[in-house]
Symmetry: C2
Subunit: 325 residues, 2 copies
DNA sequence: GATCTTAATGAAACCGATTACATTTTAGAG
DNA sequence: CTCTAAAATGTAATCGGTTTCATTAAGATC
C-alpha cells in the first residue's frame, strides 16, 4: 500500500508491519513508471553534452553524476557531437513528462531554435541549467566561468613576460566561451598598447584537427607569433602536436599558454602554463542549482547564474623563451 | 488517438487527417510515462561505468550513445567509481520497469551480489550485456576483448626483442581483464622458458596513483626489470610519470609496452608500443547486441558473447634499448 | 456507557496512454 | 436493394501507482 511505502500518511505501526511482511513475502517491487505517471513527475535529469570524448566534459559529467546520485536522480546522457542539428533532434525527442530537469552545454550561443526548445521546457515546468556555454540574450540559469577575464590574465601574463607578438587559436565565435576568450585576448593587447594583428587570430573549433591546422597557419606565416594563447584544452593539444611534428621546442621556439589544464601533460613533464578552473565543480554546482530550482514555484522569476573563478597555473614554459619576443 | 500516432491499426486517411489537425491545434504531446506504463516497457538503457574520467570508458560510452541514438533509446549513465558498494546501490536503485536493457562494466569478476542483481534483471525480462569485464562462472552476454592473447603478444614481442627481465604492472586480479592480462604475461614468459619472478609482478588498480607506486616499486628494486608491461592506459601513464619524475628515458633506461593506446601521447611524439583494440566499437557492439536481445523471447536460452580482436601497434620504443636486457 | 472527535483504514477516482472488444460504417456479392 | 463480411471507429478496461473521499475504529469527555 502506497501509504506504508511513502511513510507519509498516518499508519498504525501494527498494520505497517503487516503490510511490510506481505511486501517481503511476495517480493513486491513498486513500479516507478506508474508512480511517475500518477505523480506527474520523475527523478530523471537530462544532460546534453557536445563531445563525450573530451575530458573536460567527462569531468563535468562526473560532477553532475555524483551530485545527482546524492539526490537519487538518474542522469540521461546525450551527445550532440557539436552538431546543432543533432542537438535539435535530441531536444525534440525528449518528452516533457520524462524529465525533472535539463542540463545542457549548448553547441551555439546564438541558436534561436535551441533557445526556444529550452524555453518550452521551462514553460512546462522543467528547469533548465546551462553549463559553461551561455546563449546570447536569453538569460537562462547556468554555471559559467570567467572566460574573458581568464584569457585576459593569460595574455597579460605573456605581455608581462615581454612578448609582443602573440597569436591566438580561438574557438568558434558562435560559442560564448570562444568569443569571450577572444575578447579577453584583444582587451589584454589593447590595454598594453599592442596593436591587434588580424593574421595572429586564427580560429579553431575547439577540436584537435582544426587547431593543428590553425597552429600550422600561425607558425608558418612570414612573421610568426612568438607566443600563442590557445582557447581550450584540445586547441592546446593541436598546437602541441604541430610543435612536436616540427621538432620545435616550447620555451625556446615558441611560448604557450592554454585555457584549461590537461592532466596528463603534467605527469609527462610537459609543463605548460594554463588558465585553470574548477571543472568537476561546475558540473556539481549545475546539478545543485538545478535541484534548487525544483518545487520552488515562487522563485520562478529569479534567474540563477553562477560564475566560477578561473586562475592561472604558472608552470614557467613561457619564461624560458629568450631573444626577440 | 493512439491508433493514429502509432499508425499501426487501420485508420482511414480522412480521419487520420482530422485527428492530426486537432493534435496540431491543441499542441498535444503524448506522455511517454503513460505509454511506458501501459506498454509495460520503455526506451531507456542503463549503463553502469566504473570510472567516468577514464578516456577508455568515454570512448565506450560514445559508441553506446551513438548506437542508442540510432535506435531511439535513451541512455542512463551511472558511475560506480570502481566501488563495489556503490555498484550495488546503483543496481538496487534501478527499478525494473524503467529499463529496457542494461549495460554494465562491472567492478569485479567474482562478486556474487552484482551477478545475482544482474540475473534478477534478466529474469524480469531486462537483457544484460557486460562490456570489457566478464564475471566468473556466470556466462552473461557481453562484449569482451582478447585480454590474455593481447598481453601474451605484447610480452612475447619484448622477449623477441631480447628482453629477459620483464616486469608487469598488473590490474586488480578481481577484474577479469586484470587477471587475464597477467595470465598472458605469465604464459609468454613460460613459453619462452623464462622463469617467472614474483618480484616483477606488482599489482596496480588500473588507476594512476597506484600504478605510479607500482612503477616505483619495480624500478627501485636491486635488480629492476629492463622492460615493463602495463596492464591498462592509466597504468602506462603512472609508469610514464615515474619515468619522467626520475628523468629516465624510454628506450634507453627502460622499455615499455602498454595495454590500450593513449591518444594524446602520440601527438606529443611519445611513441610507445601498445596493445590496441576497437574501443568505440566495443560500446557500439554492446548496444547492438543488447538491441538484438529485445523481443526475441525464443532465443532466451542463447548466450551471446562477442570477442573483439586486439593488435599491437609497434612504435618502436622498445627497439632502442641497448646493452643488457 | 453514550456521544463526539480524531485516527486509521478501505474504496474509488485519477494520471494518460494502449488495446481488447463492441459497435457502426463501408464495400462487395447476390 | 438487401444481406453479409470486412473495415473503421467508438467504448471501456487496463497498466500500477497516488490521492481524495467515505467509512470504520479508537480514544477522549462527560
Amino acid at each position: 500500500m502506497s501509504r506504508v511505502i511513502n511513510n507519509s500518511s498516518i499508519v498504525k505501526p501494527k498494520t505497517a508491519q503487516k503490510v511490510l511482511e506481505i511486501i517481503e513475502k511476495y517480493g513486491y517491487v513498486p513500479s516507478t513508471t506508474a508512480r511517475n505517471l500518477s505523480k506527474g513527475s520523475s527523478m530523471n535529469i537530462g544532460f546534453i553534452v557536445p563531445d563525450i570524448d573530451n575530458p573536460f566534459f567527462s569531468k563535468i559529467l562526473h560532477g553532475i553524476s555524483d551530485r545527482a546520485a546524492f539526490y537519487g536522480y538518474n542522469v540521461f546522457m546525450f551527445g550532440s557531437d557539436e552538431n546543432i542539428e543533432r542537438e535539435h533532434s535530441i531536444l525534440k525527442s525528449l518528452s516533457y513528462d520524462m524529465l525533472k530537469g535539463l542540463l545542457i552545454i549548448p553547441v551555439s550561443n546564438e541558436d534561436k531554435n535551441t533557445a526556444s526548445y529550452l524555453r518550452t521546457f521551462e514553460s512546462k515546468g522543467i528547469p533548465v541549467v546551462l553549463i559553461d556555454r551561455d546563449i546570447n540574450n536569453y538569460h537562462f540559469n547556468g554555471v559559467f566561468s570567467e572566460d574573458e577575464q581568464g584569457s585576459y590574465d593569460a595574455v597579460s601574463l605573456l605581455i608581462d613576460e615581454g612578448f609582443k607578438n602573440i597569436g591566438i587559436i580561438s574557438g568558434p565565435t558562435t560559442s560564448k566561451p570562444g568569443s569571450n576568450r577572444l575578447k579577453g585576448y584583444k582587451r589584454a593587447l589593447k590595454d598594453a598598447g599592442i596593436p591587434i594583428k588580424d593574421d595572429y587570430i586564427v580560429s579553431g573549433d575547439f577540436k584537435l584537427d582544426k587547431s593543428y591546422d590553425a597552429a600550422k597557419k600561425l607558425l608558418e606565416m612570414p612573421d610568426p607569433p612568438k607566443a600563442i594563447f590557445t582557447s581550450n584544452n584540445l586547441s592546446t593539444l593541436g598546437l602541441l602536436q604541430y610543435i612536436n611534428d616540427k621538432h620545435l621546442k616550447i620555451g625556446r621556439d615558441i611560448a604557450l599558454i592554454g585555457f584549461d589544464d590537461i592532466d596528463y601533460l603534467n605527469l609527462l613533464n610537459i609543463n605548460i602554463t594554463v588558465v585553470d578552473r574548477p571543472i568537476y565543480n561546475m558540473g556539481y554546482q549545475a546539478m545543485e542549482l538545478l535541484n534548487n530550482s525544483f518545487d520552488k514555484e515562487s522563485e520562478d522569476d529569479i534567474i540563477k547564474r553562477i560564475l566560477v573563478k578561473s586562475w592561472i597555473i604558472k608552470r614557467g614554459s613561457e619564461k624560458m623563451l629568450i631573444g626577440e619576443k
